[in-house]
């Protein structure tokens, strides 16, 4: 109760002042997250997929020292295997930032890591009945709200297609409510990401595909016309407090990550469509109605560069966009969000998926794995984490960790942490 009250106070402060008061940490965390990092992050946690023939072949949370002053800078300092391969994918902090929830898209297990000692994350709870309790499959996005963890799923237990929904848990890991993605008023039932703008009391969701597709070999899927029909083409704006859809917007081609501008005076979010390689702006028009607008292409859409993760700068003037298939990261000038302009690109390797930007915009981290069966094969299946400094003009590599050489697996989602006084995490 004490924690809930604390979180609520934090949320109210956010709503009143807007998320931009935050001066540290990652830009893509839920705005309800407290105990933010002040300045330089100390550790990077990488939710890593187990891979056949690599080490113990199990999913694991890998912790890397990213503090430049540390003697173990750029090294793996901890790794905790959770057993088996369940398609490890995304993670999210609880609102008090003490616990990291990490999901698996195949066997639907959710692991809760305690980060009281961020150098040694420890599993303190495993949720194994997500499917039985919710009917959903594929816990994807973990998004903190006051005292709650909102989980956007990708699929369902009856058909393994993309009809899915959102489950809300409390921070103790108990299910509170379920909300199916709407099929009415243009809704297609698909889900992917969640982005809440608390100041406007709105929640934006995006749409991807179901278990059958996200587990399938990507080459097989692209050649399969029936499979390719099973992708989402909608974004939904919800009234956050009532969890009721306000408007469904047609955004064809699988809109994925949602990034709200963190500037308090802004009323827009941006996303990228994976299949059609476009940037879409979701913004209120002059009448206050939400509209989705195609504002630009990413690379050469005819070659399916496959934009995946995006990361917005804290001042909303820049956007990193990774394109998986050409292994390239691109930086867009977002000064005019209606007309993003690519101003920089760099070939990172054979494939690149996730990008995480520090709040001050100076450090950028990249990892490689998209989904186990979508990753490239053979020698093109590079698996690494690379850390860069960004001076506004170019990326300068600081260190890299080869996840194959280290016998770890496929490097996927990243989260920052810092050595924090235990009191700040509720101890």
């Amino acid at each position: 109760m004490k924690k809930l009250l604390k979180s609520t106070v934090c949320m109210l402060a956010m709503v009143a002042a807007g998320p931009a008061v935050t001066l540290a940490d990652e830009t893509c965390n839920s705005p309800f997250t407290s105990a933010l990092i002040k300045g330089q992050e100390d550790f990077l946690h990488v939710w890593t997929l187990g891979e056949v023939g690599v080490g113990d072949e199990s999913d694991k949370l890998v912790t890397i020292d990213v503090q430049p002053n540390s003697p173990t800078y750029g090294k793996v300092v901890h790794s905790v295997s959770v057993g088996g391969r369940g398609e490890a994918h995304h993670t999210g902090f609880t609102d008090d930032r003490r616990f990291l929830w990490a999901g698996r898209l195949d066997d639907n297990k959710i692991f809760v890591f305690d980060l009281i000692d961020p150098s040694k994350p420890k599993v303190v709870k495993t949720i194994t009945d997500f499917v039985d309790k919710t009917g959903f499959v594929g816990p994807h996005t973990f998004y903190a709200t006051p005292g709650r963890m909102m989980i956007q799923a990708l699929s369902n237990k009856d058909t393994h297609d993309g009809q899915t929904g959102i489950a809300v848990y409390n921070n103790s890991g108990e299910l509170v409510s379920v909300h199916k993605m709407p099929l009415e008023n243009g809704g297609d039932g698909y889900g992917y990401d969640i982005g809440i703008n608390p100041a406007m009391n709105v929640m934006l969701t995006s749409s991807f595909t179901g278990w059958t597709n996200y587990m399938m070999d990507m080459g097989q899927m692209v050649k399969d016309p029936d499979a390719m029909k099973k992708f989402g083409k909608s974004m939904i704006m919800w009234d956050y407090k009532s969890m009721k859809p306000i408007k469904t917007m047609e955004v064809p081609g699988a809109p994925l990550e949602i990034r709200w501008s963190l500037k308090p005076e802004d009323n827009w979010a941006i996303t990228a469509t994976a299949l059609t390689s476009k940037l879409w702006l979701v913004k209120q028009d002059e009448k206050g109605e939400w509209q989705a607008k195609d504002v630009g292409t990413i690379g050469d859409p005819s070659k399916i560069p496959l934009p995946v993760d995006i990361s917005i700068s804290a001042d909303a003037k820049g956007l990193w966009v990774n394109t998986f298939l050409d292994g390239t990261t691109r930086y867009y000038d977002l000064t005019n969000p209606e007309a993003p302009k690519e101003v920089y690109s760099k070939k990172m390797g054979s494939q690149v998926n996730m990008v995480s930007l520090s709040f001050d915009g100076k450090r950028v981290y990249f990892t490689t794995s998209l989904l186990a069966n979508w990753d490239k094969k053979g020698e093109d299946n590079e698996q690494w984490l690379k850390a860069y400094d960004w001076d506004g003009k170019q990326l300068v590599e600081k260190f890299s960790v080869d996840f194959h050489a280290e016998k770890l697996g496929r490097a996927h989602h990243m989260k920052f942490s810092a050595k924090t006084k235990a009191a700040a995490l509720g101890e």
């Binding site: 099929l183 039932g189 390719m228």
Partner: protein
């Protein structure tokens, strides 16, 4: 719609992973009476060994839908044979199994499986109770490490306590009772009493319209469909249970020339993409030689079993590899004589007029059972 064709000489012997996994256990005939013998209009009577044991059906259904039967608790029989998708999967051409592994073939629809003399597209199994163990143990599908692992796992489930003993004379879960229960449930999946049945066997003249009746004439005559998809005087399973080549298997394994996929990136937005440009993110496809893997007879290379056409409207995509998405595609495929097989057309072109093709498709849509269509309604 298929014509048998003899094929020359041998190719290197190669057996599929699934064939290697065949369970060579000899079972007693476990099906017996106890269920109603009545079958839907248009189906033949079930012989004694084809009938479900009524007391076992609910247990079999529970097993069929139980996702815990996969090694990692994520897949049941019903995840590839989906009740709302024609007892197959409408979502992909080829089935997807353990950890997303690719199978080489489309999940066969299970309607009227009770009548099947042989099971799987290559007919490698002959009894439903035995068949169940192939997917349970295949590393590509449910990937259990052993028979004992499955049996012990089910024994450990509280919600199964006493259920087997109650319907198997005191016997608990075992290789035999698990297979028998699953078989009994699947033997209830009967599909008949379609509009075609009401018209042809029920003598209800207005059950079909003129186009559909014309389509039936094409089906029985110029289209030569009934040569393999047989129609009897008193009943029709729309299969002769035999094995044929269409050229698709040969094309997948050997077919020459660069290939291009027409990829739909968003509704109505297509691009052409060369297969060679997809190599970096494409796993090698499992070679599939069809019935040959069972018989080692050269004439059976790339031969596959004639499927039933019951509920064909609901069981897309079509062919053993799911390579054709619509009934129109299938009719066009047979109209042009299939694909090349060993240097010549596998089948003779039909030269159907456009009206005949449309009527044929209209007729095929009369083979849908209303109850199964209702289950399919919720799927989008």
């Amino acid at each position: 719609m298929r014509r048998k064709r003899r094929l020359p000489l041998a190719v290197p012997i190669c057996t599929s992973v699934l064939t290697i996994l065949l369970v060579g256990h000899i079972w007693p005939n476990s099906a017996s009476g106890g269920a109603d013998d009545a079958v839907p209009l248009g189906l033949p009577p079930l012989e004694a060994h084809q009938r479900p044991v009524k007391a076992q059906v609910e247990l079999g259904r529970k097993l069929f839908f139980d996702r815990r039967l996969a090694f990692n608790n994520t897949n049941s029989c019903a995840m590839c044979h989906i009740e709302s998708q024609g007892l197959t999967s409408n979502q992909s051409a080829r089935a997807i199994g353990m950890e997303g592994r690719s199978l080489s073939r489309n999940a066969p629809a299970l309607y009227n499986v009770a009548y099947q003399d042989t099971l799987f597209h290559d007919g490698r199994e002959s009894d439903l109770a035995q068949q169940a163990w192939a997917p349970l143990l295949s590393p590509l599908e449910m990937a259990n490490p052993s028979i004992g692992h499955v049996v012990d796992k089910i024994r450990s489930f509280e919600d199964y306590r006493g259920l087997f003993e109650a319907v198997f004379d005191g016997h608990g879960p075992s290789m035999q009772t698990i297979g028998d229960a699953l078989a009994s449930y699947q033997r209830t999946l009967l599909s008949g009493n379609s509009r075609f049945d009401k018209w042809y066997y029920g003598k209800q003249d207005d059950a079909l319209n003129a186009d559909e009746k014309a389509g039936f004439e094409v089906f029985m005559g110029k289209g030569q469909c009934a040569t393999c998809h047989t129609v009897g005087e008193k009943s029709a399973l729309f299969t002769d249970h035999k094995f044929y080549v269409t050229g698709i298997g040969y094309y997948n394994a050997i077919g020459a020339g660069s290939r291009v996929a027409k990829v739909e990136l968003a509704p109505g937005y297509f691009i052409d993409m060369k297969y060679e440009d997809m190599k970096s993110f494409s796993a090698p496809r499992i070679n599939d030689i069809g019935r040959f893997a069972v018989t080692l007879d050269a004439k059976d290379r790339w031969a596959y079993k004639t499927p039933s056409l019951r509920n064909i409207e609901l069981t897309y995509p079509y062919m053993h590899d799911g390579s054709l998405s619509t009934l129109e595609d299938v009719v066009a495929f047979y109209d042009k004589g299939g694909l090349e097989h060993d240097g010549e057309r596998a089948l003779q072109p039909l030269h159907l007029a456009e009206k005949e093709k449309a009527d044929l498709v209209a007729f095929l849509r009369t083979l849908t059972t209303a109850e199964d269509q209702a289950k399919h309604e919720g799927y989008r």
